[in-house]
């Protein structure tokens, strides 16, 4: 057996759809280290908060955004406060507005009827994998830089893993320990750091990140809840606006 070839091409020089889909799925595998145990913990926590093993996959399958699910379950009561749950969900997921906006310039070749369903599956991880792949393909001169098949391959692995593991966690519930003891909560930071390296374009361009990190860290220490993500992102973006390169010709 040969190892999978993520860049196999057909005669036109384009990687085939299936090869792209497999490449996306393969690229998603290292991230399951973090996703699987935390899905199980989320499922177990949800049952403690009074959700049934049927409601858990309903939540994780329809909402499919782990951060907001952890945050919402932390505030879950019986019956739940609808406005509070919605506000927290929006707050935690508001970063996806920025993420979707960042991806949009690369989606012009696709019709809306394909993009809107595909965006339902967008996660931090699948988005970041796609952005990293786009950068590589753009550097190689491959058009279009965005591969829907690669994105879907990664996204579907995450979807199946997330819904599956949260359901399993809801069923196995009390038998599970703490994934922190095995360091598994460090998998996501590790993945994100490698992605940041992939986005690195010199120290000058990275200043907004430093601002974001400082603002997020400070907010995390001072304010309860998930405000820190929004605070960091907004501060970083403001910094990017202020330090934006002035002449358009100087770019790229």
């Amino acid at each position: 057996m040969k190892p999978p070839r993520p860049h196999s091409r057909d005669a036109a020089g384009q990687a085939t759809t299936w090869a792209q889909c497999c490449a996306g799925a393969m690229a998603s595998l290292p991230m399951l280290f973090g996703l699987v145990p935390f899905g199980m913990v989320l499922g177990a926590q949800a049952v403690q908060k009074g959700l049934t093993p049927v409601e858990v996959p309903l939540m994780t399958g329809l909402n499919f955004a782990g951060g907001s699910e952890f945050a919402a379950l932390g505030l879950w009561t019986s019956p739940p406060h609808l406005l509070l749950i919605m506000a927290v969900t929006f707050l935690v997921n508001s970063r996806m507005l920025v993420m979707g906006a960042a991806m949009t310039p690369f989606l012009h070749h696709l019709p809306k009827r394909k993009v809107l369903p595909a965006l339902f599956l967008m996660t931090d991880a699948s988005w970041a994998l796609s952005m990293a792949q786009m950068r590589q393909r753009a550097a190689l001169g491959i058009e279009p830089a965005f591969s829907l098949a690669y994105y879907m391959g990664a996204s579907l692995v995450f979807y199946a893993a997330w819904v599956g593991c949260t359901t399993l966690g809801a069923i196995l519930g009390p038998m599970l320990g703490h994934p922190e003891a095995y360091g598994l909560d460090m998998a996501f930071p590790a993945v994100f750091l490698v992605m940041l390296r992939g986005m690195w374009k010199g120290l000058r361009r990275a200043w907004p990140w430093a601002v974001s990190l400082a603002a997020a860290a400070l907010t995390y220490k001072l304010a309860p809840g998930a405000w820190y993500v929004a605070a960091g992102a907004v501060a970083g973006i403001l910094a990017a606006v202020i330090w934006a390169p002035a002449p358009p010709a100087a770019r790229k």
Partner: protein
């Protein structure tokens, strides 16, 4: 098996989340962007990623800070999977050693 109040909360959550997923695309789909907007879109994703993991940077656990430092070093020179292994492995080990 399904409580109506829980179901309503779940459906509302899903609705809000989907809006955040499509919002950026809907707003920017038919626009061409100036250099300033492009600079923001270039910096935005990194800002989001680093904000999400900011709590690790201000952890009060020495074990986690050391693991983070090792992870940063690993991330600058290793591929993805080895970096994950360095992060997870060092955090597990250090948390047991420094209790």
């Amino acid at each position: 098996m399904i409580d109506p109040a829980n179901l309503l909360a779940i459906v509302l959550m899903a609705f809000v989340t989907y809006l955040t997923r499509i919002g950026g695309y809907i707003l920017l789909r038919n626009r061409s962007l100036g250099p300033r907007a492009m600079a923001v879109l270039e910096a935005g994703p990194g800002c989001v990623l680093i904000a999400v993991i900011a709590p690790v940077f201000v952890s009060d656990q020495p074990s986690d800070l050391i693991a983070l430092a090792l992870m940063v070093i690993a991330a600058t020179r290793l591929p993805l999977l080895p970096t994950v292994i360095v992060g997870v492995g060092s955090a597990a080990l250090l948390r047991h050693l420094i209790a």
